[in-house]
C-alpha cells in the first residue's frame, strides 16, 4: 500500500474474523423503515410538484393543501428517509470499524421503534396543520422532544461501541460520525428549542443557523462518513490520503457553523453579520475540495469499475454532485449573484442536488451494498439496480437543470420592475411541468430501488423456508 493510504478498517485481516460477530438487527430495522418512508414521501413529493402545474388539484381538502404537504415532504425526506437510512449505515459501519459488537442491540431496536413513532406522528400532525412555523423545524414540540430522546439513545449506543473498540486507530468515518452526533445535538436544540424563546430577526438568525447546519453538520458529516467507508469498500481500493481527510474534517468542524446569515443577504439583518457569513461561505470550499480530491484520488486507475458496479456509480456521481452543489453555495453568497438567484426556483434546484443528488445517492449506494450482506444473500437484481441509477440520474438532472435555468430567468425578470409579477409566474409554467415529469422519473427510481431491496429480503426468507 503506498504511503499515506489507509484501508477503512483498523486491521484489514480482522474482516474475516468478524464474520458472524454482528447481528445487525438495528441496522435492518432502520434500513427497511427508511426505504418505506422514501416511497410514501415520494408520493407526497409528486403531489406538490403536480400542484404547481394544476394549482386546484385536491384544492378543497385542507389536509392536502400545498402549504401543509410541503413540510411533510421536506421533513419526511430528511427525517423519514435520509437520516434513518444514514443511521442504518452507522449501525452497520461502526461495529465493523471497531471490531466489536454493537454496544446494545436492544437499545438500538428501541431507537428504531421510537423513530418510527416520530415519523408516523409527523405524517399525521403536519397535514393537520400543526407546524411550528420555522423551516426544517416544523415538527411540533412534542415530536421534537422525542427526536432529542431518540438521538441520545443513538449517541449512547454508538459512543458505547466506539469506547469499547478493539482497534485503537479510528478511521475517518468514525470522526465524522462522532462529529455528527455531537454537533447535531446542539444544532437541533438551537433550531427547535432556543428559537422558541426569541422573536423576529434574532429568531430568524437561530433558525438559519439551524437550517444551514442541518445540512452542513448533520447530513454532510454522516453522508461523508458513509462515502468514506463505502468508496474504498465498493472499489476495494485503500483511501487515497489520510492527511487530506484530516484537513477536510477539521476545516468542516470550524468553518460550517458561521454561515447561517447568508440566508438573509440583503435582508433586514446586520450588514457586518452578512459579510462574515459571506467570508466563511467562501471558505467552505476548503473542506469540500479536500474530500472530493480524496475520493477521486481513491478511484485513480479504477474508473473502469464504474461500468458495472452500481454502488460505485451512485457514490461517484454523488461526489460530483457534492462538488457542484458546494460550488454553487459559496457562489450564491456573493452579493451580486445572490441578488439574482435568491428566493427563486434556482434554490430548490440547488437544495435537491445536495440532499438528493449527493447525500441520498450515498445512502442508496450504502443500502445496495449492505442489504445483501445484512441478509446474507445476493442482491435481487443487478439490472434493476442499474435501472434505478439511471432513473435517479436522468430525473435528477432534469430537475436540477430546469430549475436553475428557470430560476435564473425568474430572478432576472424580478430585477426588472417593469415586468408585472404575475408574468414572471406565467413564465415558469413550462419549467414546473418539466420539474413534475422529472419527478415522475425520480419516483420510478424510488420504486425500483425499494422493490429491489424488499425483494432481496423476501427472497432470502424463501430460500430458507
Amino acid at each position: 500500500m503506498p504511503e499515506g493510504r489507509v484501508a477503512p478498517v483498523g486491521a484489514a485481516a480482522g474482516q474475516t474474523a468478524q464474520q458472524g460477530l454482528h447481528t445487525d438487527t438495528t441496522a435492518k430495522w432502520f434500513l427497511l423503515s427508511s426505504i418505506a418512508y422514501f416511497f410514501i414521501v415520494g408520493i407526497v413529493a409528486l403531489t406538490i410538484a403536480a400542484k404547481f402545474v394544476w394549482p386546484e388539484l385536491l384544492g378543497t381538502v385542507p389536509y392536502l393543501t400545498y402549504g401543509r404537504l410541503r413540510p411533510l415532504h421536506v421533513n419526511g425526506m430528511l427525517f423519514g428517509w435520509l437520516l434513518p437510512c444514514d443511521m442504518a449505515m452507522v449501525y452497520f459501519i461502526v461495529p465493523r470499524l471497531c471490531g466489536v459488537k454493537l454496544w446494545s442491540e436492544k437499545l438500538g431496536v428501541a431507537t428504531a421503534a421510537l423513530w418510527n413513532v416520530i415519523v408516523l406522528g409527523a405524517v399525521v400532525m403536519l397535514p393537520a396543520g400543526l407546524n411550528k412555523g420555522l423551516e426544517y423545524a416544523e415538527l411540533p414540540t412534542s415530536l421534537s422532544v422525542l427526536v432529542v430522546i431518540a438521538w441520545i439513545m443513538f449517541g449512547i449506543n454508538i459512543f458505547g461501541t466506539i469506547l469499547t473498540r478493539k482497534y485503537e486507530q479510528m478511521y475517518v468515518s468514525i470522526w465524522y460520525i462522532m462529529g455528527t452526533i455531537l454537533w447535531t445535538a446542539f444544532v437541533y436544540l438551537t433550531g427547535n428549542f432556543a428559537t422558541q424563546f426569541t422573536t423576529g430577526v434574532n429568531q430568524a438568525n437561530l433558525n438559519w443557523m439551524y437550517v444551514h447546519n442541518a445540512v452542513g453538520l448533520i447530513f454532510t458529516p454522516v453522508g461523508l462518513a458513509v462515502a468514506y467507508y463505502f468508496i474504498p469498500r465498493a472499489s476495494t481500493q485503500p483511501l487515497y490520503n489520510h492527511r487530506l481527510s484530516m484537513v477536510g474534517f477539521w476545516s468542516l468542524s470550524f468553518v460550517y457553523v458561521w454561515t447561517g446569515a447568508h440566508h438573509m443577504l440583503h435582508g433586514p439583518i446586520s450588514q457586518w453579520l452578512q459579510t462574515i457569513a459571506i467570508a466563511f461561505s467562501l471558505m467552505l470550499l476548503i473542506p469540500v475540495w479536500a474530500v472530493v480530491w480524496n475520493f477521486f484520488g481513491t478511484m485513480k486507475g479504477q474508473w473502469h469499475q464504474l461500468r458495472d458496479n452500481v454502488p460505485l456509480k451512485f457514490l461517484m456521481s454523488g461526489t460530483v454532485f457534492y462538488l457542484l452543489t458546494c460550488f454553487q453555495g459559496p457562489m450564491h453568497s456573493l452579493r451580486t449573484v445572490n441578488a439574482i438567484v435568491s428566493k427563486t426556483d434556482w434554490i430548490p434546484g440547488h437544495a435537491h442536488m445536495a440532499l438528493l443528488g449527493c447525500f441520498s445517492f450515498f445512502a442508496i449506494a450504502g443500502a445496495y451494498y449492505v442489504a445483501p450482506r445484512l441478509w446474507r444473500t445476493e442482491l435481487h437484481s443487478d439490472a434493476l439496480a442499474n435501472w434505478s441509477f439511471w432513473f435517479f440520474m436522468i430525473g435528477g438532472l432534469g430537475f436540477f437543470v430546469t430549475l436553475w435555468l428557470g430560476g435564473f430567468w425568474q430572478g432576472w425578470q424580478w430585477n426588472n420592475p417593469a415586468i408585472p409579477f404575475i408574468d414572471t409566474v406565467k413564465a415558469l409554467h413550462p419549467v414546473w411541468l418539466v420539474r413534475f415529469c422529472s419527478g415522475v422519473l425520480m419516483f420510478c427510481g424510488i420504486v425500483s430501488f425499494a422493490y429491489n431491496i424488499m425483494a432481496t429480503v423476501v427472497n432470502r426468507r424463501e430460500e430458507h423456508a
Binding site: T60, M178, G200, H266, P268
Partner: protein, 189 residues
C-alpha cells in the same frame, strides 16, 4: 496534534466541539447583544430619518391570523422582507410609491418570524392596506378569479369561515404598517 485525535476519542470530541462552539457563539449569541435594533420595536417621529410610525404588539385577532398564516404554510410561497435591492422597493411598493427597506426593528413581535426563503408569490412585507376586504375574500376563494395564471392554492375553508377570514385579514392588513410609508394615509380597509 491532529494525530492524537486519530487515536483518542476523547480528544477528538473535545476538539470538534471547541471548534464548533467558537463560530456557534460568535454568530448566534453575540450579534443581538451588539446590534440593539434586533430587539427594540420600531419608533420614529423624525421625517428626516425615513418613514415615521410606531410598532405595536399584536392584538389577539392578529395573533390568530398569524397562526393561520403559519398553519397554512403561506410562508413557503411568500417572503416578508423588502431587501436592499431597488427592484424590491419597487415591487413591494404600490400605486407609484416605493416601499421603504425592511429593518430589524419592524419584526420584534414576530413569533414565529415570517421572513421566508422562497417567492413563488409576491413579497408581502408591505401588503397591508393594498387591497380591500372584498378583494381578499374573492382571492382566497380562488386566486385565479382575480389573477389568471396564478399558482396560489384556493383556501375555501378560510374564505367561508368568517372568524378565520377576519383574523387572517387583520394580520394581512397590518403587514408593513409600522412604517407609515403611504402619503395621506392611502390604505384600503
Amino acid at each position: 496534534m491532529l494525530n492524537r485525535a486519530d487515536k483518542s476519542a476523547g480528544f477528538a470530541i473535545g476538539a470538534a466541539l471547541v471548534l464548533f462552539f467558537i463560530g456557534g457563539t460568535l454568530t448566534t449569541v453575540i450579534p443581538p447583544l451588539v446590534d440593539k435594533s434586533w430587539g427594540r420595536p420600531f419608533e420614529n417621529h423624525d421625517p428626516s430619518k425615513g418613514p415615521t410610525g410606531k410598532l405595536r404588539p399584536y392584538t389577539e385577532l392578529e395573533k390568530h391570523g398569524l397562526a393561520i398564516y403559519t398553519r397554512e404554510g403561506c410562508w413557503y410561497c411568500h417572503t416578508q422582507q423588502t431587501r436592499t435591492l431597488v427592484a424590491d422597493t419597487k415591487r413591494s411598493g404600490w400605486r407609484g410609491v416605493d416601499s421603504p427597506i425592511s429593518t430589524p426593528d419592524e419584526f420584534v413581535y414576530d413569533q414565529p418570524h415570517m421572513f421566508g426563503t422562497k417567492r413563488t408569490g409576491p413579497d408581502l412585507s408591505r401588503v397591508g392596506g393594498k387591497y380591500n376586504t372584498q378583494w381578499h375574500r374573492t382571492h382566497f376563494r380562488n386566486p385565479r378569479d382575480l389573477t389568471p395564471g396564478s399558482v396560489m392554492p384556493p383556501f375555501p375553508w378560510i374564505a367561508n369561515d368568517e372568524g378565520e377570514f377576519q383574523a387572517l385579514l387583520a394580520y394581512i392588513q397590518r403587514l408593513g404598517r409600522a412604517k407609515d410609508w403611504r402619503p395621506d394615509g392611502d390604505y384600503e380597509q
